[in-house]
Amino acid sequence: MWKFLIKRLLLALFQITFLVIAVFFLIRLLPADPVSRFVGMNASKEAYLQAEMSLGLDRSIGKQFQGFLLGDKNSLGLISGDLGKSWVSGEEVTQEIKKFLPVTLELITLAFIFAAGISIPVGLWGAANPGGIADKGTMVYSLFAGSQPEFSWGILFIFIFFVYFGIAPGPLGRLSPLTEAPIVITGAITIDAILAGRFDILLEALWYLTLPVLTLAFVLSGPIIKMVRENLIQALQADYILYARASGISSMRVARDALRVSISPTITLIGILFGYMIGGAVLIERIFSISGIGQYSINSILAFDYPAIQGVVLTISSITLLIFLIVDILHALVDPRIKL
């Protein structure tokens, strides 16, 4: 177990090192001119050079990388966990990410709970009678949901539930503009509301999260249903299930074993999807004015804010790699056939 963990951690560290290098140079290799973006097209030569110097772009790319890693006049360097200051807001990038990341994590965690809560029973229902009406229906649904553009459904849901029926809150963010947000502790508004003992705010936050969560859960349910169904059908046809049945073990017990085996690839899928969604919830955040890491990345990218872009990509990729690690461990815990 420990040997496996250390090996996996070393691999992840290795990957992150390369990621840092790749992100840094990728951004700078692209033919963008952030300096003229900041000083404007018609700026004087002096203003341009001064801006270039204050952004640290007058140095050679090697020196810039050295500064990014080990620190320079603007930051302590990545080695000390400092991603530098945003060129737009002047704030510490780490502070901004700390502010925006929990918002996204809250949104997608709720969406995954919802999606898994629907998909696993539906997948089981389909697999219970392969080839039946329920199975065909769930298959078509999962193919459909799994291919859909979440942004156009988000907008459609807003039109139906907010504009037309008026039963859902408008896409105004996480709380009504008139409500005072609870003191930020974790950054996830539902948890902060609970910590502040304000259950009215908790309910309101959940209310505002309903449509975005629903939209994301709809798109996510497609692949999850498909995975549960296929794996369960496969597991039920496996030899060890036949053996268990032949040995006279109760059908409930057999079903439980099959479920346990078929759940482990589903965990992998959910892990991969979760990592994907941290960066992929961008569009939903945009539509519902939720200021999470996705919105932050759009704004940084469109403003050519290099430190912020680096920070976002590194954060999301590192989380993705961490999730893969957790998934591998969970996998081994759930599936008795895998030994660490």
Partner: protein, 288 residues
């Protein structure tokens, strides 16, 4: 090929029809549209005519030769939503197909090379492409396009880069299962060069999974194209494109004007679903 019968369901037929229609519109769409998709008209934010009046309106247009109404209404700047939705098919499909053709060719070629010739160099290259896959797809695409410039070519190149590892992985796995097969040994014994074997024998036999993947990834690519322009990091307006149409219509939506964003949204939904159905069909009937 086995002699297993190919089964076609109603859903498959639906998928084929929509895919066919979409490809038809991508080629001939410009001859069908009643208005110039980038030219503003005098009617602003006008709703589509009620569906019940469509038969008589169609009669007027085709028999009485009256000017065409705005079938899907007009948006807030007076652009005809119907013409733009149809014209956008070409934008989205050209980007999606080009990106997939480039990444599939590159991915298959690299997959054969990295799978057949295994040494430190190819192993390092493989790891490099693996790393590329741990990048957040949408955000990386946004970075590449926004920083390199929002042109068609850059969008296509960015997507090609992001999708190449998918094809590479699929092909390489297939190649690994082929290298020890009898016909490869036979070819080697008959004195063919290694490169000849890789291209002439391995490559054609390792194409299968990529062909299955192609239709699925086309759908992804359409979603990515639309998503990029939805956030303002894709093709520049006024080029007709579904994502940017949905985005520009979203502002009007809360006021009750649903048509500028819902019609292109439905078009996107149907198209990607149709490609998913086709991918599913090929996957079901592909015999490995």
């Amino acid at each position: 090929m086995s002699d297993k019968k190919i089964k076609i369901s109603l859903l498959d037929i639906f998928g084929f029809i929509i895919t066919g229609a979409v490809i038809f519109l991508a080629i001939f769409g410009e001859f069908i549209v009643p208005y110039d998709p980038t030219m503003v008209t005098n009617t602003v934010s006008k709703g589509p005519p009620p569906f019940s009046s469509w038969p008589s309106l169609l009669w007027d247009v085709f028999v009485n030769d009256l000017p065409s109404p705005h079938w899907f209404g007009t948006d807030s700047s007076g652009l005809d939503v119907f013409s733009r939705t149809i014209a956008a098919v070409r934008t989205d499909l050209i980007i999606a197909f080009s990106a997939n053709i480039i990444s599939a060719s590159l991915g298959v070629f690299l997959g054969v090379i990295l799978g057949y010739f295994r040494n430190i160099l190819t192993e390092a290259l493989l790891r490099l492409f693996d790393l590329l896959q741990s990048f957040p797809v949408f955000i990386t695409a946004m970075i590449l396009v926004a920083l390199a410039g929002r042109t068609w070519v850059n969008i296509i190149l960015a997507m090609s880069l992001l999708y190449t590892p998918i094809y590479l992985r699929l092909t390489r796995t297939e190649v690994l299962s082929l290298v020890n097969r009898g016909f490869i040994y036979a070819s080697r014994v008959s004195g063919k060069t290694e490169f000849y074997i890789a291209i002439r024998h391995i490559l054609p036999n390792a194409l299968g999974p990529s062909l299955v993947q192609f239709s699925i990834t086309i759908g992804f690519a359409i979603l990515l194209t639309a998503g990029l322009s939805f956030v303002g990091a894709g093709v520049r307006p006024p080029t007709p494109e579904w994502g940017s149409m949905i985005a520009s219509g979203a502002g009007q939506l809360v006021l009750g004007d649903w048509w500028p964003s819902v019609f292109p949204g439905v078009a996107t939904s149907l198209t990607v679903f149709a490609f998913a159905v086709c991918g599913n069909f090929i996957e079901k009937n592909y015999d490995r």
